[in-house]
Symmetry: C2
Subunit: 392 residues, 2 copies
């Protein structure tokens, strides 16, 4: 039996110092429950994604507290940690559990508080997603990982660095434009009319990436309710089906034999999802990809099979991934414009995909959106999950 | 189709400052792979439990590194965190995935490094498993949680405190005795002939619990390989089947309406496991329970249904849970004698259960062991998982 998403919710992404991780998840959950038009008692289990609650809030083992807070006392509740892919890992496992008949209906989501943790704690926390022994201790944090990737990309595909910087800056311009339109986004109403020059001239973080090449730190929560097809059809006018999912892993960066810019684990995860969905990249109407940095969006689109290696930067600069292009990418602003509350990011992509497919994403609606694909990357290509959603 | 455990491995529990979390898991894995008599390529996914790698080793997002280290490059790999139940949560999910036909054969395990992290970091790390806002900030750490439970137990069942202290001390005497016999245990060759007086007279940690009422901090890793029945029978002379599993959650301690000494989430998890296995407590030959403190073993045995509430302390003092009693409990020494490397504890219980059922636990073999039950508790009744294993 197929599995459908029947309700979605998310907090405004931004700064929420007054709310706990449990509060943020719960707020997103109530919106999802209301959206799903079901009763609390219909939900049988909780799949919760969180990356570094231990470091930012002093709290691990949150899944039981989360379940209790939303009224699901004693329900089986699991916390998944796969860095930035935490809630997408949870989503895939939840889908498989419902598909196998273990549950009729469950909630999946995540929460994170990085912005209100402050830059020092937040940066240290984020760095735990790289290899803690051989990479972090060598000074490698994420701007460094993706600056390396950007430089290698330019070298490999023989693109002069300045030319590459200009092309990837379009990712920032585009995603900030869409984020500024999205009331749930951290940068709602801000940075909507950036120019490429603004990106090039903003503060250098790790050459060649400037501040506007980077996603922000963010607090937020997201939640989606999934159910088997029978229950979904009983309660829902327009269930959005999970057509396919894929997951793969990568070792430490220095042990990834092939080019990191090819993102081999992502290629494998995407192929797994396409195979299960029985479609090809050509069938996808729009995508949500993991643009933690501008170059990351380019690498993602190529590994997922939407563009040949070395070409997505040209396509982006030409507008192919804009709303009026052939393949709109990150219509909600992506991590760069919407924000990146790590544990909540994966299911916030599902939120956008479902709202778009239902035709409810009125502030930046993709025309005739029927099939969407999401992509979440945990660490430096350590945990990759892709999800394909659609309607009949 | 049924699911079987076909290989088990664990490191010596103790102090391993020179080994990383990945190293500890890998060492256990190689033993399990050798035990299973299969090839590496037969293993399709990694289910990895770890509680506080972020805090002790600066490493989250370890599942991909773990997969890469053991040669399963790019395999789907998931990290589960449910405090002390982390690897049992992973085990249950792995069993469900294999049962549903998603995989033929997978590895499940865990690792933790608390002893070599030192007391200050270790204590702070462990405390993240209680509610971080309302409990930890009030000074509640785990000796406090279980000292409260012990006092409440005495009050509720009208047992004078000194009498109760004497009775629960038998748990320490018994589990240390068995731990001293187990070459994999932290206290192998030590504390094998403790007397009740030794427990009562050891250093007071949190009244009424003394040092010998507490399990130690531990480094270690464990791993088990599970497979579907068909593959298990192809490669294995004596597969040990997973007869049933159960899981439930609890909210913050102060929100658990019923007595904490009744451990309601554990009762629900155990009932779920018994129902799936289609057996009753009377059918179980021996159990591995979560004796993080002496009183914890008593509470566990009652909630699981082996003794009426308020009676397991008498039964323990009378020897019912000793090797020559009706229900041997923790023949490997339990957390108190074997050690408690949190993320590795759950699958180390499965290790013992399987070795016992195969008749290979020669240093302390339960006679005619055919059906075993394990019990792991994460936090202060936040995450509970029970597993029943057996042979035809």
């Amino acid at each position: 039996m197929r599995v459908a998403v029947i309700g979605v919710g998310m907090t405004r992404f931004g700064k929420h110092p007054e709310k706990s991780l449990v509060d943020l998840f719960a707020e997103a959950f109530w919106e999802a429950l209301n959206d799903a038009n079901i009763e609390l008692k219909d939900i049988e289990a909780v799949y919760f994604g969180n990356f570094v609650g231990e470091l930012t809030d002093g709290s691990a083992n949150l899944s039981g507290f989360v379940a209790d807070e939303i009224g699901l006392k004693n329900a089986p509740a699991i916390r998944y940690e796969g860095a930035c892919a935490s809630s997408t890992v949870a989503f895939r496992e939840a889908v498989r559990a419902v598909k196998a008949g273990y549950h009729k209906c469950v909630v999946v989501g995540g929460a994170e508080k990085l912005l209100s943790a402050g830059t020092a704690i937040g940066t240290r926390a984020l760095a735990t997603a790289v290899d803690g022994i051989y990479e972090m201790t060598a000074g490698l944090t994420f701007p460094g990982v993706f600056a390396l990737a950007a430089r290698y990309y330019g070298k490999k595909y023989e693109i002069p660095l300045q030319k590459l910087r200009e092309m990837i800056a379009y990712v920032s311009v585009k995603n900030h434009r869409y984020g500024a339109m999205n009331p749930k986004a951290q940068f709602y109403g801000k940075y909507g009319d950036l120019k490429v020059e603004d990106v090039l001239n903003s503060k250098m973080i790790c050459s060649p990436l400037t501040l506007l090449d980077c996603c922000p730190m963010t607090d937020g929560g997201s939640a989606v309710i999934i159910a088997n097809e029978k229950f979904a059809k009983d309660v829902c006018d327009k269930p959005v089906y999970v057509l396919g999912t894929g997951q793969a892993s990568g070792g430490s960066l220095f042990r990834q034999e092939d080019d990191i810019i090819k993102a081999i684990p992502r290629k494998k995860a995407a192929e797994m999802a396409f195979k299960e969905a029985k479609i090809t990249p050509k069938d996808v109407d729009f995508v949500e990809v993991h643009d933690c940095f501008t170059i990351a969006e380019i690498i993602a689109l190529e590994a997922m099979g939407f563009f040949d290696y070395g070409t997505a930067c040209y396509a982006t600069a030409e507008g192919v991934t804009s709303m009026d292009g052939d393949l709109p990418v990150n219509p909600d602003g992506g991590l760069i414009g919407k924000g990146h509350p790590v544990g909540a990011t994966g299911t916030s992509q599902i939120y956008t995909a479902v709202k778009q497919i239902r035709g409810e994403f009125k502030w930046n609606q993709v025309k005739n959106a029927r099939i969407a694909m999401t992509d979440t990357l945990g660490g430096d290509f350590g945990t990759l999950v892709n999800v394909i959603l659609g309607v009949d």
